[in-house]
Symmetry: C2
Subunit: 296 residues, 2 copies
């Protein structure tokens, strides 16, 4: 299996579906709608929605029913990026090689575009409940929305902890708590919602949860390793200064060798879970390996 | 009927219920939770949730089932206040006579507290769907959430139009569009959700919608009048600077006298609708009058 081709195929599917939820017509708030589109369609990797879809496909065939939820999780991810980039939080000027929302538009528009994307996610999921004619799946959909609201609250909490402790010494418990919430929660919810909507058995839901939690963690450890010893040219940002900046990362906390060992061990665990689904788990296996070996 | 006593009684009910949705325990994001509580419990009038509850009571008795939705609409209202007050939007220092959220905490916390309240509203409503044991009302609840997501998107659009046209000349069509969305949408949704959850007939839903649209408008006109000629001490914020700030309001647009006349005429229309429900409409009638005569 060519992971990159598969990722790209599903990314295109998500992009096409996302586009349908955006308002294009002329109206007094047209620029707000454009700002929402600007960030949502800025070329993200769509890892969360693709993870949701591919988990769904382990248990069920056609993906039509998972798509509104896959789009919703991507809208929520993008809402959080817009707000994180704001001058009041990370004050970043560029994202995906393009100007951040508040730099391209202005701060007021960026705040409201973020709000609009979060709310659009819920509008998208609620309309799916309202217009659905498969009543037997209604309860799984309600569970899925609940999973997403809870994960989003955790993500917001994680972002808060990140801003609060920036530049301060942080315990390994706090480091883990921050990442588990800020990045991990949405990864976890993506995978779980895929399983829930496909009506997976409790035992499978647990395995999928463990898989998602594990790759959420390896994703972060790899990020920290790249930030310490990656290739500046490939990454497009300075490397090796986390220690002097007082940043708490898995590398500054545990050292290079131990962080690398953690990454190997956890990736192996994720791969083992994926392998229990044989061919159906192929994509998840490749994804876990890709997260470990990527160079950016 | 003593409207103030009745309002105060239901406001207390809403306050008590809202408090139950807030997270109080010690945790790394404790200050974020405090910031959410700070604004949510800052002494708002709770007009939206009380409107929802009282409309519900026209058609049904016990109010237990409407409470989570009443709380959700108040959370959404407060999310919008926190974000509107931010330096990037209105840059206000005081609200309800207290420091605004970003002044009391900081900008990052205020952005995330607003996000947190919007998301908490959806968490609250979704949990109500999930834990509900009255399946026959499930569809009304889904319709209610849909009503609220749509209204919230309209509110965000209205706020955008408000910021976009600040300091610019604005047509009366745009002024109306802005208010219909910014303030009107949530008032309208509050009343409609009350009627929907009580399973009101289509004819009643239409009457209630008209009532809510009308008091949404009178509420805004009265706000603009207070902002022009109210008592600073009673209002807890500066008065009389809309003109110099280039704000488009019913007063800067139509002048004091005409705005006052519009307020009178629309209030009469709202009262007439409320009167068709005889004693059961008593509260709505008093509310319409109160909106007109209030001094804060």
């Amino acid at each position: 299996m060519e992971l990159k081709q598969e990722l790209s195929k599903y990314r295109d599917l998500v992009d096409k579906e996302l586009d349908q939820y955006l308002t294009k017509e002329e109206c007094p708030e047209q620029i707000l709608n454009e700002a929402m589109e600007y960030s949502l369609m800025a070329g993200g990797k769509r890892i969360r929605p693709v993870l949701m879809i591919k988990v769904y496909q382990i248990f069920k065939g056609e993906i039509e029913k998972v798509m509104p939820f896959a789009c919703a999780i991507e809208m929520i991810h993008n809402f959080s990026l817009i707000h994180d980039d704001l001058p009041g939080i990370d004050n970043d000027d560029f994202r995906h090689g393009k100007l951040t929302n508040h730099k391209r538009y202005n701060e007021a528009t960026a705040i409201l575009a973020g709000d609009g994307l979060l709310n659009l996610a819920y509008e998208t999921m609620t309309k799916e409940l309202l217009n659905s004619n498969d009543i037997e799946n209604q309860n799984n959909k309600i569970k899925a929305i609940n999973e997403i609201t809870t994960a989003t609250q955790r993500m917001i909490a994680g972002e808060y902890v990140d801003t609060e402790y920036e530049g301060k010494a942080i315990s390994s418990d706090y480091l883990e708590y921050m990442h588990k919430n800020k990045t991990g929660a949405l990864f976890r919810a993506s995978a779980r919602v895929g399983a829930m909507l496909a009506n997976a058995k409790e035992e499978d839901l647990e395995k999928i949860t463990k898989f998602a939690e594990t790759i959420g963690l390896t994703f972060q450890i790899k990020d920290d390793l790249l930030s310490a010893i990656g290739d500046e040219k490939v990454l497009g940002k300075p490397v090796g200064n986390d220690e002097e900046k007082g940043k708490s990362t898995y590398v500054t906390k545990y050292g290079l060798e131990k962080a690398q060992k953690m990454l190997e061990k956890l990736t192996k665990e994720a791969v083992e879970i994926a392998e229990t689904y044989e061919e159906k788990g192929e994509f998840l296996k490749e994804l876990a390996i890709y997260i470990k070996i990527r160079n950016k």
